[in-house]
Symmetry: C2
Subunit: 173 residues, 2 copies
């Protein structure tokens, strides 16, 4: 599945421990993928038994020993296969839109509150992404430009969401 490929991708950028990976899932790639700790470690184990990843024990700098995971040639090939394969069409899942779809059950104040909470969420996303982009150094190669581009994608969708909320509230007024 996708999580496996993402882990291969992260290890292609740099060797990492499960702990490192988890931190990346909670920060850098968080706006397009997240993963539970347990799942990360189990997926890593599966990748090792598949021979796509190799482990090297290294002494911990501040704490216990780390199990540094390195991508093997087979792992890099598998990553490439995924990148050029047909798009994984994942089912659209938007719980907020589901609420709006059934929001006829709500009175005006409740509806306004619902939309307002979504506006807040979108504003927060927008602010977070803007902050991340500002703190990111100018990209020097294509790989970095592409990673930055995923941020811009998030920004555009956040703005689209806010614009939609504006239009909807105007329409309902």
């Amino acid at each position: 599945m996708v999580l496996q490929r993402i882990i291969l991708g992260m290890l292609a950028i740099a060797p990492m421990s499960g702990y490192d990976l988890k931190r990346h899932f909670d920060s850098t790639v968080n706006y397009f993928w997240s993963a539970d700790k347990a799942q990360v470690y189990r997926t890593l184990a599966a990748l090792v038994t598949e021979g796509l990843v190799e482990v090297r024990k290294v002494p911990g700098t501040a704490g216990p020993d780390r199990q540094e995971h390195h991508l093997t040639a087979a792992g890099r090939a598998r990553l490439h296969d995924w990148l050029v394969s047909d798009l994984d069409r994942q089912p659209e899942r938007n719980a907020f839109l589901a609420r709006v779809f059934f929001a006829g059950e709500l009175d005006s104040e409740e509806l306004t509150a619902l939309l307002e909470r979504q506006r807040e969420a979108a504003r927060t996303t927008l602010a977070t992404l803007k902050a991340v982009r500002k703190s990111t150094p100018e990209p020097t190669d294509r790989a970095e430009r592409l990673r930055l581009a995923t941020l811009d994608n998030g920004l555009r969708h956040a703005r689209a969401e806010l614009a939609w909320l504006d239009a909807l509230e105007k329409e309902l007024a």
Copy 2:
């Protein structure tokens, strides 16, 4: 979880069989939620044991008997609770952005092909949503306006995706 609430919401609009629900998941609400047949039937069963939904056997018009599921008062209350509760913050999951993030592994042609496939997908979504909106009659009350608004949300995001692709391709050129 969310699927339960969505089913409650659909039954609030009209009583339905599991089969009807599945068809709705494959058509009307498909652009923001989907569900497996097995999951629909099992969730319905759980809702019945919870007393949120009642079953009435009705003779099938064209085929076997149907089990028409009706929302109970408790079910409607549960639906309302969900609609006014804090937003279910679901983890962002975008497999395509994940690919772009790691697309430094690709050569120029492969990258172009990846972006082109996404453009195709976005264009298809846009066309589908436009078609649905055209075939939908003008909303007469607020509930209908809200259901239509979820379509507009999809349209805006599809357009945002296309605009982002344009900008990215220009930047990479």
